[in-house]
Amino acid sequence: EPEVTQTPSHQVTQMGQEVILRCVPISNHLYFYWYRQILGQKVEFLVSFYNNEISEKSEIFDDQFSVERPDGSNFTLKIRSTKLEDSAMYFCASSGNGVHTIYFGEGSWLTVV
Protein backbone atom coordinates (compact mmCIF):
# COMPACT_ATOMS: atom_id res chain seq x y z
CA GLU A 1 0.00 0.00 0.00
CA PRO A 2 1.36 3.46 -0.87
CA GLU A 3 2.60 5.42 2.11
CA VAL A 4 4.08 8.72 3.13
CA THR A 5 7.73 8.36 4.09
CA GLN A 6 9.70 10.75 6.25
CA THR A 7 13.37 11.24 7.06
CA PRO A 8 15.05 11.45 9.44
CA SER A 9 13.07 9.50 12.03
CA HIS A 10 14.98 11.25 14.81
CA GLN A 11 17.14 14.35 14.88
CA VAL A 12 18.86 16.14 17.71
CA THR A 13 20.02 19.65 16.96
CA GLN A 14 21.45 22.57 18.85
CA MET A 15 19.38 25.67 19.40
CA GLY A 16 19.88 28.15 16.58
CA GLN A 17 20.75 25.54 14.01
CA GLU A 18 18.84 25.00 10.79
CA VAL A 19 16.93 21.78 10.31
CA ILE A 20 15.42 20.27 7.18
CA LEU A 21 12.84 17.53 7.50
CA ARG A 22 12.12 15.53 4.39
CA CYS A 23 9.02 13.79 3.14
CA VAL A 24 8.01 11.75 0.14
CA PRO A 25 4.21 12.01 -0.18
CA ILE A 26 2.09 9.38 -1.87
CA SER A 27 2.93 9.59 -5.56
CA ASN A 28 -0.37 10.66 -7.13
CA HIS A 29 -1.35 13.03 -4.32
CA LEU A 30 -1.63 16.75 -4.91
CA TYR A 31 -2.08 18.22 -1.43
CA PHE A 32 0.74 18.17 1.09
CA TYR A 33 0.81 19.11 4.73
CA TRP A 34 3.00 19.45 7.77
CA TYR A 35 1.65 18.95 11.27
CA ARG A 36 3.43 18.78 14.57
CA GLN A 37 2.78 17.18 17.95
CA ILE A 38 4.55 18.41 21.04
CA LEU A 39 4.98 15.56 23.50
CA GLY A 40 1.69 14.86 25.27
CA GLN A 41 -0.23 17.48 23.32
CA LYS A 42 -2.60 17.64 20.36
CA VAL A 43 -1.58 17.28 16.76
CA GLU A 44 -1.40 20.82 15.34
CA PHE A 45 -1.67 21.98 11.75
CA LEU A 46 1.31 23.91 10.42
CA VAL A 47 0.88 24.36 6.68
CA SER A 48 -0.79 23.02 3.56
CA PHE A 49 0.72 23.14 0.08
CA TYR A 50 -0.95 22.79 -3.29
CA ASN A 51 0.05 23.60 -6.84
CA ASN A 52 3.55 24.62 -5.73
CA GLU A 53 2.43 27.19 -3.21
CA ILE A 54 1.27 27.46 0.36
CA SER A 55 -2.52 27.31 0.46
CA GLU A 56 -2.94 27.78 4.21
CA LYS A 57 -0.73 28.19 7.26
CA SER A 58 -1.24 28.44 10.99
CA GLU A 59 0.04 31.01 13.45
CA ILE A 60 2.77 28.55 14.42
CA PHE A 61 4.18 28.69 10.89
CA ASP A 62 6.11 31.92 11.27
CA ASP A 63 9.06 33.29 9.30
CA GLN A 64 11.36 30.66 10.79
CA PHE A 65 9.51 27.97 8.85
CA SER A 66 9.46 27.33 5.13
CA VAL A 67 8.33 24.52 2.86
CA GLU A 68 9.52 23.49 -0.54
CA ARG A 69 8.81 20.91 -3.17
CA PRO A 70 12.22 20.84 -4.84
CA ASP A 71 11.35 18.10 -7.31
CA GLY A 72 8.44 15.89 -8.29
CA SER A 73 8.64 13.64 -5.25
CA ASN A 74 10.04 15.40 -2.18
CA PHE A 75 8.38 17.87 0.17
CA THR A 76 10.55 19.53 2.81
CA LEU A 77 10.05 21.56 5.96
CA LYS A 78 12.88 23.87 6.95
CA ILE A 79 13.26 25.51 10.34
CA ARG A 80 15.87 28.24 9.97
CA SER A 81 16.93 28.85 13.55
CA THR A 82 15.56 26.24 15.92
CA LYS A 83 14.29 27.07 19.38
CA LEU A 84 13.82 24.76 22.34
CA GLU A 85 10.05 24.96 21.86
CA ASP A 86 10.38 23.54 18.35
CA SER A 87 11.04 20.14 19.92
CA ALA A 88 8.20 17.96 18.70
CA MET A 89 7.19 15.17 16.38
CA TYR A 90 6.69 16.58 12.88
CA PHE A 91 4.30 14.76 10.60
CA CYS A 92 4.11 15.05 6.86
CA ALA A 93 0.80 14.17 5.22
CA SER A 94 -0.75 14.08 1.78
CA SER A 95 -4.12 13.70 0.11
CA GLY A 96 -5.44 13.26 -3.40
CA ASN A 97 -7.43 15.69 -5.52
CA GLY A 98 -11.02 15.90 -4.36
CA VAL A 99 -10.43 13.22 -1.73
CA HIS A 100 -10.34 14.35 1.85
CA THR A 101 -8.68 11.30 3.40
CA ILE A 102 -5.32 12.55 4.62
CA TYR A 103 -2.51 10.04 5.05
CA PHE A 104 0.29 10.67 7.50
CA GLY A 105 3.88 9.55 7.66
CA GLU A 106 5.57 8.00 10.68
CA GLY A 107 6.91 11.37 11.78
CA SER A 108 10.28 12.91 12.50
CA TRP A 109 11.20 13.43 16.13
CA LEU A 110 13.04 16.71 16.52
CA THR A 111 14.83 17.45 19.77
CA VAL A 112 16.37 20.89 20.16
CA VAL A 113 18.98 21.14 22.91
Binding site: Y33, V43, S48, S55, A93, I102
Partner: protein, 110 residues
Protein backbone atom coordinates in the same frame (compact mmCIF):
# COMPACT_ATOMS: atom_id res chain seq x y z
CA UNK B 1 -12.14 26.96 16.46
CA UNK B 2 -13.67 23.68 15.36
CA UNK B 3 -11.69 21.54 17.76
CA UNK B 4 -12.60 17.92 18.16
CA UNK B 5 -12.55 16.85 21.77
CA UNK B 6 -12.64 13.22 22.74
CA UNK B 7 -13.94 11.54 25.80
CA UNK B 8 -13.04 9.66 27.78
CA UNK B 9 -9.43 10.78 27.97
CA UNK B 10 -8.45 7.26 28.94
CA UNK B 11 -10.22 3.92 28.70
CA UNK B 12 -9.14 0.53 30.03
CA UNK B 13 -11.03 -2.58 28.97
CA UNK B 14 -10.59 -6.34 28.87
CA UNK B 15 -9.75 -8.06 25.60
CA UNK B 16 -12.95 -9.07 23.83
CA UNK B 17 -14.96 -6.16 25.18
CA UNK B 18 -16.19 -3.27 23.05
CA UNK B 19 -14.61 0.17 23.30
CA UNK B 20 -16.55 3.34 22.64
CA UNK B 21 -14.90 6.72 22.23
CA UNK B 22 -16.71 9.98 21.68
CA UNK B 23 -15.74 13.17 19.93
CA UNK B 24 -17.36 16.60 19.99
CA UNK B 25 -16.64 19.59 17.81
CA UNK B 26 -17.80 23.16 17.64
CA UNK B 27 -18.39 24.35 14.10
CA UNK B 28 -19.83 22.90 10.90
CA UNK B 29 -17.71 20.33 9.14
CA UNK B 30 -17.35 18.66 5.78
CA UNK B 31 -15.84 15.44 7.10
CA UNK B 32 -14.75 13.82 10.32
CA UNK B 33 -11.87 11.36 10.38
CA UNK B 34 -10.62 8.98 13.04
CA UNK B 35 -6.95 8.15 13.45
CA UNK B 36 -4.99 5.74 15.63
CA UNK B 37 -1.56 6.46 17.03
CA UNK B 38 0.63 3.91 18.72
CA UNK B 39 3.00 5.39 21.24
CA UNK B 40 5.61 7.54 19.52
CA UNK B 41 4.48 6.46 16.08
CA UNK B 42 2.64 7.95 13.13
CA UNK B 43 -1.06 8.56 12.65
CA UNK B 44 -2.90 5.71 10.98
CA UNK B 45 -6.08 6.65 9.17
CA UNK B 46 -9.02 4.51 10.29
CA UNK B 47 -12.16 5.90 8.74
CA UNK B 48 -13.68 9.04 7.21
CA UNK B 49 -17.33 9.93 7.58
CA UNK B 50 -18.86 12.73 5.55
CA UNK B 51 -21.17 15.31 7.06
CA UNK B 52 -24.16 13.85 5.17
CA UNK B 53 -23.52 10.34 6.51
CA UNK B 54 -24.79 9.05 9.83
CA UNK B 55 -22.98 5.76 10.21
CA UNK B 56 -20.09 3.94 8.63
CA UNK B 57 -18.48 0.55 9.19
CA UNK B 58 -15.04 -0.79 8.49
CA UNK B 59 -14.21 -4.24 9.84
CA UNK B 60 -14.53 -4.08 13.63
CA UNK B 61 -14.96 -0.30 13.54
CA UNK B 62 -18.26 1.51 13.59
CA UNK B 63 -18.43 5.29 13.41
CA UNK B 64 -21.51 7.41 13.91
CA UNK B 65 -21.96 11.10 13.25
CA UNK B 66 -24.65 13.37 14.66
CA UNK B 67 -24.24 16.78 13.10
CA UNK B 68 -27.13 18.22 15.13
CA UNK B 69 -25.18 17.45 18.31
CA UNK B 70 -21.81 18.04 16.67
CA UNK B 71 -20.58 14.70 17.90
CA UNK B 72 -19.22 11.41 16.66
CA UNK B 73 -18.47 8.07 18.22
CA UNK B 74 -16.02 5.33 17.38
CA UNK B 75 -16.90 1.81 18.43
CA UNK B 76 -14.30 -0.94 18.32
CA UNK B 77 -15.94 -4.32 18.74
CA UNK B 78 -14.27 -7.44 20.14
CA UNK B 79 -11.18 -5.51 21.15
CA UNK B 80 -7.70 -7.02 21.00
CA UNK B 81 -4.52 -6.17 22.87
CA UNK B 82 -3.16 -4.81 19.57
CA UNK B 83 -5.89 -2.14 19.62
CA UNK B 84 -4.05 -0.47 22.51
CA UNK B 85 -3.27 3.01 21.21
CA UNK B 86 -4.45 6.61 21.26
CA UNK B 87 -7.43 7.44 19.09
CA UNK B 88 -8.05 10.90 17.66
CA UNK B 89 -10.90 12.47 15.80
CA UNK B 90 -10.11 15.21 13.32
CA UNK B 91 -12.48 17.53 11.52
CA UNK B 92 -12.17 19.60 8.38
CA UNK B 93 -14.37 22.50 7.37
CA UNK B 94 -14.00 24.81 4.42
CA UNK B 95 -10.38 23.83 3.83
CA UNK B 96 -8.45 20.58 3.86
CA UNK B 97 -6.87 21.53 7.18
CA UNK B 98 -7.56 19.01 9.94
CA UNK B 99 -8.29 20.06 13.50
CA UNK B 100 -7.44 17.30 15.95
CA UNK B 101 -8.89 16.55 19.34
CA UNK B 102 -6.89 15.61 22.42
CA UNK B 103 -7.39 11.90 21.91
CA UNK B 104 -8.52 8.91 23.94
CA UNK B 105 -5.86 6.56 25.29
CA UNK B 106 -7.19 3.03 25.00
CA UNK B 107 -5.66 0.17 26.94
CA UNK B 108 -6.86 -3.33 26.12
CA UNK B 109 -5.80 -5.78 28.81
CA UNK B 110 -5.07 -9.33 27.63
Amino acid sequence: SQQGEEDPQALSIQEGENATMNCSYKTSINNLQWYRQNSGRGLVHLILIRSNEREKHSGRLRVTLDTSKKSSSLLITASRAADTASYFCATDGSSYKLIFGSGTRLLVRP
